[in-house]
Symmetry: C5
Subunit: 155 residues, 5 copies
């Protein structure tokens, strides 16, 4: 299996490095192709090119939208493009975005970015190799980066 990795120069932390480390630690011999673009709006076509021109089986897209209104809009437009690229290729593109204002300190931000990158790398392995394991976690309130919320407590 070959995994595409798209990331940006705009982001302030190298999530791709963590994700690649996690992928290689969990699955020996997995192939990785990396493609860095300037900003988040350049990621949808980069992901599609990896799927169609580099025969990747799945792509992870890493992005860090800034705090401004415009940044939120860019992330929204990128997300729409990423969903469209998946529908055009019938392959998954796992979007790993961390909003710069999700936490309040730079230290927490770095920690969140590493955790989310690694958690989604493990999701990618499950999607490719053990899809049934995902169903075991269906409806279980799983989160990536932040702690799991868990299922609804009825009593």
């Amino acid at each position: 299996m070959k995994i595409g990795i798209v990331d940006t120069m705009f982001a302030r932390y190298d999530m791709a490095k963590d994700a690649i480390d996690e992928l290689k630690s969990n699955m020996a011999g997995i192939g990785v192709v990396r493609y860095t673009v300037p900003g988040i709006k350049d990621t949808p076509v980069a992901a599609k090119k990896l799927l169609e021109e580099q025969s990747c089986d799945i792509v992870m897209v890493f992005g860090m939208p800034g705090k401004e209104e415009t940044d939120k809009m860019c992330a929204h437009e990128a997300s729409q493009g990423i969903i469209l690229a998946q529908l055009m290729t019938n392959k998954h593109i796992i979007e790993v975005f961390v909003h710069e204002d999700e936490v309040s300190s730079e230290k927490e931000l770095a920690k969140l970015m590493e955790r989310r990158a690694r958690a989604h790398a493990r999701n990618v392995i499950k999607l490719l190799y053990y899809p049934k394991n995902l169903t075991r976690d269906a409806g279980m309130g799983k989160r990536q980066g932040h702690d799991d919320v868990g299922p609804i407590k009825i009593k």
Copy 2:
């Protein structure tokens, strides 16, 4: 007939289980294929893959958008993708989303999720086997999960 079921690990209740139970209780011998993905934005391509690669006749997508602004945006993007996937395949994908803030307690939320899942499962059976029955309810203010509102009272 073969029904695709897409759901997420993000959701905090297993709506798919209720829907599958409802489908099987109402229509003996109905086929079901289940596909769990990490989050709501992964659902459009999963639904399309079930329609095109697993020959499903219809797909149900279960999602539970959280309370934050970002969660609402994710649900919006997923909905756009789900509509597009339908237009690309000429098949129905029934979106079964329950917003975490639709009701105020966890207990009510679980109840709402079960009811909506089961009600839409019955809609799926009607769409596939008894489409004329749906027309009987046209304009009747039907709801799924919450009580029906009913038609406008003119007098």
Copy 3:
């Protein structure tokens, strides 16, 4: 000519019935195919199926978005899908939506829904049979359901 009619169980008034009555009263021998779906987001693919699988020449989609923010968003997503379905088929889909909060009483709402349904049915006949008549009304401030606003008064 064959006219597709898509409507929902969610709506609280049967606009399709009025539209079909108006169509048949104005154009003897016109064909009508009706397709009812659960909610407004199910309408785009239903319209496209009528155009492509049932050889309809045009489709009318009837919907009644509710008062909540979520309802407005559903209507927006449906509208985007309806425009896309038209671009994929090169045929018109006339969207006949009445927002539940356009008027203040249930009685007015029913009246508005009937008037809008009938007015758009007449528009459909013009689009199919007398397109030149529409140009006669270009820029004339025509409305469907509410009274016409009329052209700008310059003096």
Copy 4:
């Protein structure tokens, strides 16, 4: 060259008439095909039909979004459709929208609509016959309808 003209019965001023006059005054023998639809959301498919079924080289779409929130949303959805129609055909569709609340009196509105229609008609002629002339005005702060703003004043 053949120019498609799409407009609506909803608008309160006949911009198409002014544009056609401007086109014919500036370019003898230019062909024009006119297509009037009920409202702004019907314009994208009308424009695409003119490009693909009537062999138009370019299309102008005239619309007048009203003052309400819903009207703004309709204009947004139409604009998205118009951009998509261009990408599907590789031809220009010049959107000429005047928002009813851009100016405060009906008299100014009519004047604005005429000026914008005529200015865009001249743009269409440049795009078709003298594309290099447009580059001469690149970055010059040109407006259609309102006065030009002009380039940034550095000193």
Copy 5:
């Protein structure tokens, strides 16, 4: 390699000139095709035409959205179109937009526009000729026009 340049008459500064200068200074013999359109919503199809009809390898789109709400919406719609055009062609279109209200004086605005245009021209050269160099800057908080923010400071 051949680079397409799309810009507008609406913008109040000629960013394309700066970008072309930067491209030619950094890469001898690079080809450039320029295409000016009236406004920002005309840019997506212009970019796609350069990629498909003029065999450009990449396109840069220059735009300057104004300060009004409507201008923001136009920029959003253009961005969606630019992302879609990339997905339809599997080629990059680098969006170089400067919002008129990003800075407070006309002098700063001109300076920002020149810097962003030149920075993105250098990105284009990297994407085409030295893609590996972009990965060296992955997650480094690079900005175009404004000063780089740099990577997260963990200690």
